[in-house]
Symmetry: C2
Subunit: 593 residues, 2 copies
Amino acid sequence: MPIYNAPLADMKFILNDVFKAEQFWQNNENLAHVDAATAEAILEEMAKFAQNVTHPLNRTGDEEGATYSNGSVTTPAGFKDAFKQYAEGGWIGLAADEEWGGQGMPKMLTVLADEMLFSTNPSFMLYPLLSVGAGMALNSYASQEQKETYLPKMYTGEWSGTMCLTEPHAGTDLGIIKTKAERNEDGTYNITGTKIFITGGDHDLSENIIHLVLAKTPDAPAGSRGISLFIVPKFIVNADGSLGERNAAGPGSIEHKMGIKASATCVMNFDGAKGYLVGKENEGLAAMFVMMNYERLSMGIQGLGASEFAYQNAAQYATDRLQGRSASGVQSPAKPADSILVHGDVRRMLLNARANNEASRAFAVYVGQQLDITKFSTDAEAVKTANDRVALLTPIAKAYLTDTAFQATLDAQMVFGGHGFIREWGMEQCIRDLRIAQIYEGTNGVQSQDLIGRKTIKCGGAFIAEYIQEIRDFTNDLSADLNFIKDATLDAAAEVESVTQYVLEAAGENVEFSNSAAVDYLHAVGLLSFSYMFARIANAAKDKDGEFYQNKLSLALYFVQRVLPELAVRIQKVKAGSEIIMNFSEDYFTNQA
Amino acid sequence: MPIYNAPLADMKFILNDVFKAEQFWQNNENLAHVDAATAEAILEEMAKFAQNVTHPLNRTGDEEGATYSNGSVTTPAGFKDAFKQYAEGGWIGLAADEEWGGQGMPKMLTVLADEMLFSTNPSFMLYPLLSVGAGMALNSYASQEQKETYLPKMYTGEWSGTMCLTEPHAGTDLGIIKTKAERNEDGTYNITGTKIFITGGDHDLSENIIHLVLAKTPDAPAGSRGISLFIVPKFIVNADGSLGERNAAGPGSIEHKMGIKASATCVMNFDGAKGYLVGKENEGLAAMFVMMNYERLSMGIQGLGASEFAYQNAAQYATDRLQGRSASGVQSPAKPADSILVHGDVRRMLLNARANNEASRAFAVYVGQQLDITKFSTDAEAVKTANDRVALLTPIAKAYLTDTAFQATLDAQMVFGGHGFIREWGMEQCIRDLRIAQIYEGTNGVQSQDLIGRKTIKCGGAFIAEYIQEIRDFTNDLSADLNFIKDATLDAAAEVESVTQYVLEAAGENVEFSNSAAVDYLHAVGLLSFSYMFARIANAAKDKDGEFYQNKLSLALYFVQRVLPELAVRIQKVKAGSEIIMNFSEDYFTNQA
């Protein structure tokens, strides 16, 4: 059976030592109710929940899967009770406003709570995650009455939420959706259309499901400027808040998938279902992006969670598995063989994963802090800077953290040899469950287009320039004993700055360039970001005594020597341009001749 | 439903134009029975079999899986009939000696036939594959009587074969196996022990199963020098060749796996089963390596097959899927969106896969040719050179071709967006089925140790030096219009030569070095090998008219610009050494602190 021990020591180190979270919270009047002791207590409680409640349901959930029958979805055994416990613990509203029953906790804390759930049961985690995302969109764009009607019950878990965007013919390109919204005389709308890939589109965990649905009114402008957002509840909510009639909105089937099998991925049919406009007509995409940006950071944390889980299990297996002897002589003469930890290649795979975990965790907390500034700070300048940073870093958090995590889970599986392929060890499920994180909420290719296009070329590189300035300001101040990470980070910053200039120029000359260069550019910025995180980690560890801190410095050195070299090849691929890619005729791809 | 069209045009180009196979065969008296027309007819027949018989059984086989009940294994519906057709077509013995009922076809042809089966149904392919491997081991080491008893029926498919190495506690480290072989007075042995991960350990495709089992006699030397090889038939074969009593050898259960679910992976129990020694006591490992080396090249072809299948489906999906518009203006104004082939990033993923396929296919044929020289040539010098080359290239064929193929299938899946995660599209099964190829028959890490250790350091770099010399001899003769691939290949050869020198020196100074550097070193040699293959492809295409040949040159250029740059980072990682890896204490890995 797989193991999981919440990495509380590293979480506390990152919050307390790397980001000095308590000081940050106490200096902000809107976060002054949070201190280190509260934060640690929350993490410890979540660790228990993850270890004792969601972890034991992970494999059984995969084996049983969500099932569809007669128009409704049943979740695997144990999910309903776990969701009830989760809701009663107040976890759904952990980061939500207290006004609606939330706990008002900062994002830099909640990302760590989320990580533990993603480590232990990503399928389960998706159910509350969608509620939280829907709640955020409503909180930003819904009317006061809509908020009062829906938000409190979503945070208690009595109701849950979904996000209905994709249609069979329209995924990335939402401008061509066909779902119709026809206005009734009473101001409600009739929603008609089919949505696919709807996570939690139906289930048995809550009494009602609040679907947020993108649709087009008959006279809407073409493309993405004509998209409106609607609340479409599974059961109509009466004026007194009780549940009324069943709406004409429900699942037609669920998908059979590679992984996250306990998460119901529904085809949703809206047959003239009653819907309520959120905000104004044709302005739905902005509201949906509130939700999507939240989900995108969450997918990065899904990556981190899986990578941490995979690492822990692989490290334990490597410790227990006796095979072969050390090259430098027998290490365990009393045993028939040494543990496979004596082999450098096994360590290399484990260290790749561990370096990924610690840098990803710091990065998630860092982005969480930026989000907290945008939400809680009263300093307009700081809010603007943080907004720019969040815009820049969201695609990196989503795509880079899931790409590196996927590689880490593969490395961890390989440590098991043939056993990694066998279901009972849990590694293969971890990989199957994680793979979707690179695909959904906008594929990692789409994230890369977002980074290089909207977030870089469109602003003339301003966002990345500000970010690089922050990295330089921090890194230049490092003491000489940290030159290994200082020099590496400053070099990486210079290389990313230079390749960004190259991107801006090449994009001006050739409209095809950026699409071809996007993924490699994103990885270049991701590598710089991890180097920056290790610079912050090393700086927090360097003056402290004990192996825990020494190991942080060693892992930073491992990153510099064994991971960061990939930056050069990413830059070379960016500079390879698009000519050779675009020169092939469209026919070439399907023709062998 | 997934598609598959056998890539016959590329196969013929590689055989006829790149390797001038007919000339090679006709110049060898032992292969003079093979000409281009025969070879093409064989490929066309196999294409029909793969497209019409094994391909339709791929998904159903995955859904149903092999099942175990009451001590025996049932294969999925359709497998039995398909195996019968395959056997009756003479495919099992395609490369086997005519003396035993085989067709005596050269390896450079059979690798291409194998590719088609691996593309369309890797689970199915493993059943005959194990028979062929077992047949090769018997052909090399068994007595004349044993060959007469077993080989003909294995090539007709009446019987099949397995390879029983791994035990619960002993995978890579076969020296510590516990299975006992006790000699009886009649010269037979009683075999007792448990083997795991036995592919085709039981099934319903053939009347009898001939297990080749590694075991230790009571007085055997410790470690790998005390391993003997035994024939352990499921049913004892009577003197007249008929089947006698059931032997005490059978499956205890089958594994539940990530993929290749239609292939039965058995736990095998030998309870004093009757066994017949192959060759001499304590010399079993050499015989098993005949089989293992064959399987290792086959795993590389499994990679190629999966990558080709994934590419074809992704290219078709990209052609059919309309999303977004080209950056350079609307391409299909009559349609609601352009095909996603207008996006450079989609093309990048497809071209990565296609470049992998064409280089891998050429490399498989190249290694096949070297194997044919070792088997059929009468020139002792040529045989020696080819033996060295096969020794060097087997781990690369196994590990590099599966590593790059796995990445290619991931890229292909990503082209599908969310649909790639859904079972009906076939991409997720392709990935699950392929993943094992990186793990079994010696993990890719173990292959890398073999390359850097036994095949490089042990011979002082002689094998790689000979290979680089061959590459230089060929590449130096290229005409000036091929400078793009000539220069790239010569540069890569120089870099691999230099890093090999580095490896030899570093290994002499530090026994831990090679294990830590192995995987990156293997990838460096793999990249050089693919560059060499593209040099051969480009040379064969350059003077020919038509888009088919022009596209070969363009794909070679794509490889140079977009794949080969990875060589630099592999070399940098080799040179990073083992110090930072080995400095962590063993406790570090499982402790968070």
